[in-house]
């Protein structure tokens, strides 16, 4: 194996599959960004592409692309680590490859249908074949069933590999989490005639996927990633994984209540949601202590600087996006005015970027290092400006966009909700105020900056290490 050369054949079957997932994930990341830019522009010029690619369709593809690419990133990361963790080759390799192609073709068909059939009456046929109609999980029913079946197949691959090989703390948490991941999706697959009841179950998918199963998956990936990039002992990462899962479930599950404030559920949800949402940031704050402890007590060395930088970005992004931006508006007394405005969008953008995008990009850098024959990816890396610039542009763009959306959201909360009383007229009044319009221009500008960062990132992922012949140093402690 030559350092710097792409050596796909030297990877294990699981890792080869992971590379495929990462490639699709990055293509969808770009699609997410482009459709986001289109939707952002339509805020400024509502006539733009009206009747060709409507705003609601752009927004739907923007969000769906994000959900799917993050899932692809997680699945890729799991396939990358599973054989290393279990110590045996991937079980059901052929099925895993078929699953990948079925899932990818299904995703492509769903997006094409979204774009081709943008409006029209909804009935059972459209529910099954066009669009299910539920925000964020609009995929038609056939695709829903397909997603669950694919998750079942992936569960078989992962659990089967651990059963044949060796179990570990990471393995146990991961396997249980995959069951929850597939199981929770069922909650978004049936209708009731009672709207609050329908929304009640819908939130199980939206909130519990994101704030329970995805967070746990990130915990597993992070634990394995820390062992590889910083040579952190297994005993420590496993202990912290258990602690993290306990803390997260302790506050995260009933934190679900903050989505139940205004959907017609009983009043006690105001208290339950308020209490647990207030506790949700405490684990994030507490984890800061552990980071300082480790940095101070151990002189960690890293052999993959881009991955480490993105892992650090993950810690800060998660804290700011989920913690600070979340708690600003989570209590019902203020959420009454802010929910569903650009304020929520501001929180959503920073939280998803900080908690999930960062960790997947970090993991892809870990994978690329191996793909290029354990190439040198530390100080004085040739072409190292690319990862630094992409990291900087993506973060400046995201923070700028978050602040712009926060300003727009504040204006909406005030003019549309508090003063206007959430009427239809106030909805439009809120969106024609100068503060809102200017904030949307700033959001557009920072969105372009982010897209530039993403383009550099994609080039870097293709090129990083290509001009190097040095190999990375071992991190054995």
């Amino acid at each position: 194996m030559t350092a710097g050369r792409v050596d796909y054949a030297s990877l294990s079957a699981g890792q080869q599959l992971a590379v495929k997932y990462f490639v699709v994930a990055m293509a969808l990341f770009l699609a997410q960004m482009l459709f986001g830019l289109l939707a952002a522009w339509q805020f400024l010029d509502p006539e733009f592409l009206f009747g060709i690619v409507d705003f609601n369709v752009n927004r739907m593809v923007h969000i769906n692309a994000m959900v799917v690419w993050l899932l692809y990133g997680f699945i890729g990361s799991i396939f990358w680590l599973v054989e290393d963790e279990a110590g045996v080759p991937l079980v059901g390799c052929k099925l895993a490859n078929i699953t990948f192609w079925v899932l990818t073709v299904a995703v492509a068909i769903v997006v094409v249908v979204y774009l081709v059939v943008q409006s029209g009456p909804g009935d059972k046929w459209t529910l099954w074949f066009i669009n299910e109609g539920r925000e964020y999980i609009e995929a038609p029913r056939w695709a829903d069933i397909g997603i669950v079946l694919c998750m079942g197949a992936i569960f078989y691959n992962v659990a089967g590999t651990f059963v044949r090989g060796k179990w570990s703390g990471i393995a146990g948490v991961l396997v249980l989490d995959l069951i929850a991941l597939a199981g929770l999706y069922f909650a978004g697959m049936f209708y009731t005639t009672n709207l609050p009841l329908d929304q009640y179950w819908w939130w199980w998918v939206i909130h519990l996927w994101v704030e329970a199963t995805w967070e746990v998956m990130v915990g597993c990936i992070m634990a394995w990633g820390l062992m590889k990039t910083l040579a952190t002992p297994r005993r420590i990462v496993t202990t912290w994984l258990y602690i993290e899962v306990a803390l997260m479930f302790g506050s995260g599950i009933l934190g679900l209540g903050h989505h139940y404030f205004w959907i017609g559920t009983p009043e006690y949800w105001l208290g339950v949601g308020g209490f647990f949402s207030a506790l949700e940031p405490i684990p994030l704050v507490a984890m800061v202590v552990h980071a300082v402890y480790d940095a101070g007590r151990h002189s960690f060395r890293s052999n993959n600087h881009p991955a480490l930088a993105w892992l650090i970005a993950h810690a800060f992004g998660n804290f700011l996006g989920a913690g600070v931006w979340g708690f600003m508006q989570t209590l019902p007394q203020i959420n009454l005015y802010t929910h569903g405005t650009q304020w929520s969008s501001s929180h959503g953008h920073l939280a998803f970027f900080g908690a999930y995008v960062t960790i997947i990009v970090a993991f892809i850098y870990i994978a690329i290092q191996k793909l290029r024959g354990d190439v040198w990816m530390s100080a004085d890396l040739r072409g190292g400006w690319r990862w630094k610039w992409s990291l900087a542009l993506l973060h400046v763009g995201m923070v700028g966009m978050t602040i712009a959306l926060l300003i727009a959201g504040y204006e909406q909360s005030f003019v549309e909700r508090a003063v206007g009383g959430s009427t239809w007229a106030a909805y439009f009044e809120g969106q024609t105020q100068p503060w809102f319009v200017e904030a949307m221009w700033w959001r557009m500008g920072f969105g372009v900056l982010m897209t530039a960062g993403l383009v550099i990132l994609l080039v870097d992922l293709l090129r990083i290490g290509a001009d190097e012949t040095r190999t990375s140093k071992s991190l054995d402690r």
């Binding site: 002992p233 005993r235 420590i236 202990t239 912290w240 602690i243 009043e267 105001l270 208290g271 308020g274 209490f275 207030a278 506790l279 940031p281 405490i282 684990p283 994030l284 704050v285 507490a286 984890m287 800061v288 202590v289 552990h290 300082v292 402890y293 480790d294 101070g296 007590r297 804290f319 913690g323 600070v324 931006w325 708690f327 600003m328 508006q329 989570t330 209590l331 019902p332 007394q333 203020i334 009454l336 005015y337 802010t338 504040y410 909360s413 005030f414 508090a418 003063v419």
Partner: protein, 103 residues
């Protein structure tokens, strides 16, 4: 059950909410650093951060009308943010104890 924030205080309440988390992190970082270095100055600053956090919680309680049962939430935040960093520090020491012995 809920008495919403007065409309001219929405921004203040949101900023106080964000400040609680930031001061919580400040308190946590300074507490951990003070334990690492044994510095009483840092320990003092960490308590100052906590005092600022407590003031923000108080301010938030006033702005959001957190009275009656909601006072339990105020108490819970004050206790939770105070205890959690100390608890995690002790946990860190115990988790890493085996390592130190090996080294």
């Amino acid at each position: 059950m809920v008495d919403p924030v007065d409309i001219h205080r929405i921004a203040g309440a949101a900023l106080l909410g964000g400040a609680i988390i930031l001061f919580g992190a400040g308190y946590a970082i300074l507490h951990a650093l003070s334990r690492l270095s044994g510095s009483s100055v840092l320990a003092g600053f960490s308590l100052l951060c906590y005092a600022a956090l407590a003031a923000c919680v108080g301010g938030l309680a006033v702005l959001l009308h957190l009275w009656g049962l909601w006072l339990v939430l105020v108490a819970l935040m004050l206790t939770g943010y105070f205890i959690a960093p100390r608890f995690i520090w002790r946990l860190s020491e115990q988790v890493h104890e085996g390592d130190s012995k090996k080294e």
